[in-house]
Symmetry: C2
Subunit: 190 residues, 2 copies
């Protein structure tokens, strides 16, 4: 659980007492490649912390899957717009590789917030960061060119060529797969 | 400041000590109709609580103003994606009426979080709610019809006909002003 402790220590001091509480509330879960972490129409009941692996966020629009986000090792995974109000999710999240996550349930996360010293502060700081990242990603969809989106994606996932199928990258960048290779060629000329 | 105390009491207990701290950190500000609360390109330095009046959120896209949100009495006003990381804002906020707001600066809000009992908890709960509302509004832009957006806007602002100029309502619904009157006619037939 060291990776999880370290990620939380970015926000608040994590001593032995905090490690004890965190270990109690998070449980390990294995997802096979292709297995869902969250399905559209269901309530998001967990926040996860990815230890190993990769997840894909997507939604279905006019019968077509639109990929809009990836999360990998050392990142939190959840759909907060379903998780926070505990309402059905409009989005899906699935494992793109065999993935190990530490998960915490809604009730246990609320217990963690109130039990742990600086638990509320941690919660505030994490959700602030997730909020800002979500909005930046959404802004980027409507104001960046596909090239810029591809460059940002590459910055977030330097190993994306090896790990993410081209059609998911294309979908997340907002182009057809055949246009993606043109973008990659153009960018490699710089 | 009763309205502000009541809004905060929705999230955490507000006794005399909390009232004292809140009164110290928030200051009253008057905005004339048309005056900016936040300008595109500047860092959002304050969160406000609207006591009286109405604000419009907008962004400029291809030289055109797009209105995407309104906030009124008893609501918080800020652009968190600029405020939280303290980076320049892509969006603007202006008063649509003469407006009274209680404002708190970034530094003082952080002091409030750490000084006040349950301050961090309040911060977490408020940002969670703002986050979910922002995402719901964005989802609605891409999945609702203009009629549905108009109905939701009317639900949030039952007095919008009296207070918000038609072209801002049309922009927020996502149609040309002439289409808005057709939508209004259709809806009044139900």
């Amino acid at each position: 659980m060291e990776a999880l402790f370290n990620s939380i220590a970015y926000f608040i001091p994590v001593g032995e007492a905090e490690k004890e509480i965190i270990s109690t509330f998070f449980t390990e879960k294995q997802l096979k490649k292709g297995e869902p972490f969250l399905e559209e129409g269901k309530v998001c009941r967990h926040v996860g912390f990815i230890v190993k692996g990769l997840m894909r966020y997507y939604l279905t629009q006019d019968g077509e899957e639109k990929t809009f986000y990836f999360a990998k090792e050392n990142e939190f995974v959840s759909n907060y717009e379903s998780f926070v109000p505990q309402v059905p999710s409009l989005k899906s999240i699935e494992a793109l590789e065999d993935t190990t996550v530490y998960v915490i349930s809604y009730d246990n996360l609320n217990r963690l917030y109130s039990t742990m010293a600086n638990g509320e502060r941690m919660g505030r700081l994490i959700i602030e960061r997730v909020f800002v990242e979500a909005l930046q990603n959404l802004n980027s969809f409507y104001s960046d060119t596909p090239e810029q989106r591809y460059e940002k994606l590459l910055l977030a996932h330097p190993d994306l060529q090896q790990r993410i199928p081209q059609y998911y990258i294309a979908s997340c960048v907002g182009v057809k797969p055949q246009s993606l290779s043109r973008i990659r060629k153009r960018l490699s000329l710089h």
